[in-house]
Symmetry: C2
Subunit: 498 residues, 2 copies
Amino acid sequence: MKEKFEELKRRLGEVADLSCASQLLDWDHQVLMPAGAAGLRAEESATLDRLTHERFTSDEIGRLLEDLRPYEESLDQDSDEASLIRVTRRDWEKARKVPSDLLGEMSHAAATALPVWVEARKNSDFASFLPCLERNVELKRRYIECFEGEPYDILLDDYEEGMKAPEVREVFDELKRELVPLIEKAKANPVDDSFLETKFPVEQQRALNTVILDRFGWDPNYWRLDEIVHPAAYSFGTMDIRITTRYAEDGLESLYSTMHEFGHGLYERQVDPALERSPLCSGASLGLHESQSRMWENLVGRGLPFLRWFYPQLQEAFPQQLGSVDVESFYRAVNKIQPSLIRVDADQVTYNMHVILRFELEQAIIDGSIALEDLPEAWNAKMKEYLGIDVPDDRRGVLQDVHWSGGGLGYFPTYSLGNVISLQIWGKVREAIPDLDDQFERGEFGALREWLGENLHRYGRKFTPMETIERVAGSSLDAGPYLHYLKDKVGELTGAAA
Amino acid sequence: MKEKFEELKRRLGEVADLSCASQLLDWDHQVLMPAGAAGLRAEESATLDRLTHERFTSDEIGRLLEDLRPYEESLDQDSDEASLIRVTRRDWEKARKVPSDLLGEMSHAAATALPVWVEARKNSDFASFLPCLERNVELKRRYIECFEGEPYDILLDDYEEGMKAPEVREVFDELKRELVPLIEKAKANPVDDSFLETKFPVEQQRALNTVILDRFGWDPNYWRLDEIVHPAAYSFGTMDIRITTRYAEDGLESLYSTMHEFGHGLYERQVDPALERSPLCSGASLGLHESQSRMWENLVGRGLPFLRWFYPQLQEAFPQQLGSVDVESFYRAVNKIQPSLIRVDADQVTYNMHVILRFELEQAIIDGSIALEDLPEAWNAKMKEYLGIDVPDDRRGVLQDVHWSGGGLGYFPTYSLGNVISLQIWGKVREAIPDLDDQFERGEFGALREWLGENLHRYGRKFTPMETIERVAGSSLDAGPYLHYLKDKVGELTGAAA
């Protein structure tokens, strides 16, 4: 048995190595590859992805999983060994249901659609993107046919394993009900952030990003920070974490982008090294991942205790811009709530409405209740309804996000689920570390980092997302703490009790 | 038939993609990976290398090659198609002879030896490296047993396909005979290069490297230049060429290192794009590759015409250091001949003696006529004999090069073969472009670049190294032009006729 288990680990290690090489091709492409090599790189990525899938879905792995059933049952369910067999079997059974050819078609369609989307967005020309979208949706339908169950659940499962659309709908309906009046209230009491409408030279921003990362607890022996247009976090095992940020002179976005990606990176960095080179060596789901990035970006980085430590350094770096702005004013400005057109620029409250809009449209796309050519109109109507905003063109409307060009339907909900989960976890953090605010004011983040490692990160993918949430937060998905946080925040900003 | 040929190309494309991913793992490791990930990266590289070998040596590729014999015979031997079948068959038959396990052991032994060598060199402690060297030599003997033929020829064949030790020996004996007196002559008439013994700030060197690359004809859409400790050139297909250089304030080495690596990179860049993603898509051999790097470094970069264009810009960048040094003095300084301890720092003449010494020792290692523990003594004796130099310690003696730690026996000769070939080609270049010097003086290098592309680079690996040399130089290996060049150079520097 032990021998078969070792053989399973060996094979999974190979798959992990291949998958890692494939992700490196992607990171390299995004960060520094000479642009002229894009066509060739697409071929290489497709080959690596196909081989990774082939090797993972091999009959040999299936036979080992079958043979290892008695061994698995003899073990503690929480052990690394039982978890590896259990999760691998679930992944393997799912992956086996999808023919390699279909995966190849999906990957090819995504690669084809990307430049078309880029061009269509630039020209605000939805019609030119429509054929690509149709192709992606058609392929998604074929993908759905590989499985049993509710169609949208099947898509969601790729990003948030085990989550069902009705559960998401329940949480999102609650958010919608509470947030629409909150947004009205915030709109009626606008915060002054005019002092941010100036220039912040990039060189100082770079230095400040490093100041933050040093205190948050990155170690350049295991981390990199690079600059690209679309920030993201990558990991190649727990010892090679690469985050990216983007710098622009007309704002301080780079700081919050870096804190966000640090949250993602830290999750991967603190997975138990014993799970290295296995399917368990990553965060449990996109929602849990987003709970970590949002936590460092919003609950830490947009909190007053953090700013009491950090803001004096910011003022020192930008004396002309911020010398006469006190920390409370800056705090209100970086927490300002104001409906806007673009999801990625949205504040903490309205952000969720952007996500809910997409979740509703995606369900309509999949159940066929909306024709794809009517998407722009439906988008604009919802923007008006939820945020009171008129969408001037499709570039700033239905074409703004890359996800659908890559066939990524079912992904958006995880962003708001992450917000919800982040506050569930935050409650536990505050209970466990009563002087958290004092620590932040002193620029100390080690206790938070360690608590997250101990209570969440180290598990990796050993448990399902739902099990993981219950372990770390002590309850199932619950929008309560998040809504409470947002109401408090709006109350504070508008100067009234929540 | 056409279908089988396409199937072969498809499979070879997959192998090329895997191999490219493997090389990217290596480039990334050398250039920018966080150091803490080294252990994991070794696993990943080993997996990728093993899978690449497995897929290339598959029975299916063997069957296709067999089935395609009649097709190959029906084609022009110089056609891309016939060449692909012919070269792939040769590679496949060779690769099939080596068990995957032995390759794994060799790769593992190399990975194990590298840090031991680093430490041993630092401490000048040959004894601590000896067990690793013994292991590598033992594995090389097992590797040799996989083939028929003279043992050293088998090693040489990995780097210079088809080349035999007696041919190399003939060329090297001729070099030795002629160079020893030349070196004596140079020693008796030392060149003054004391003005180089000062500081050249790195920032200006960086800018000058770009000036040179721009004129040599790199296009950042297809090239990168990075900084690492051990400069090298990498390519991931013809559209992604990455060269590296190193900067040090105490000299202008970075400029010549960049020109050298540009020569390697240009060879890969100018391979016919029709050969992309196939075993034909690279330079024909290490010797031919080195002929290109040496050509740009020495025949262009250390030539007076190039310096007449470039040196005024160098003076402008370093007015205090070089303002009062005329171009002829600078020319003599960068061509100075003086025996020294370290191969990589050696001048154009003595460099070859370093290589010949290693070639002779490697043959003695393989035929068993020297015991490994006696290597330091034998090394030091030859250094005294060939260059009149006393080796103070093994760090600057037998431990200076990384090659043997990686099992790279048979590699060194290609360095001097490259020197020899570079002059054979140079003769043809000068015939074809009579005003070459005038072009260089104007900073124009396009005609040289295009001539090399048309007459050498585009062939890639279609022909054997020997066939390739005959095609581009019109003759077989011939030390004559190189010796003529060196004698002229020494004559010029010592102020006497050659």
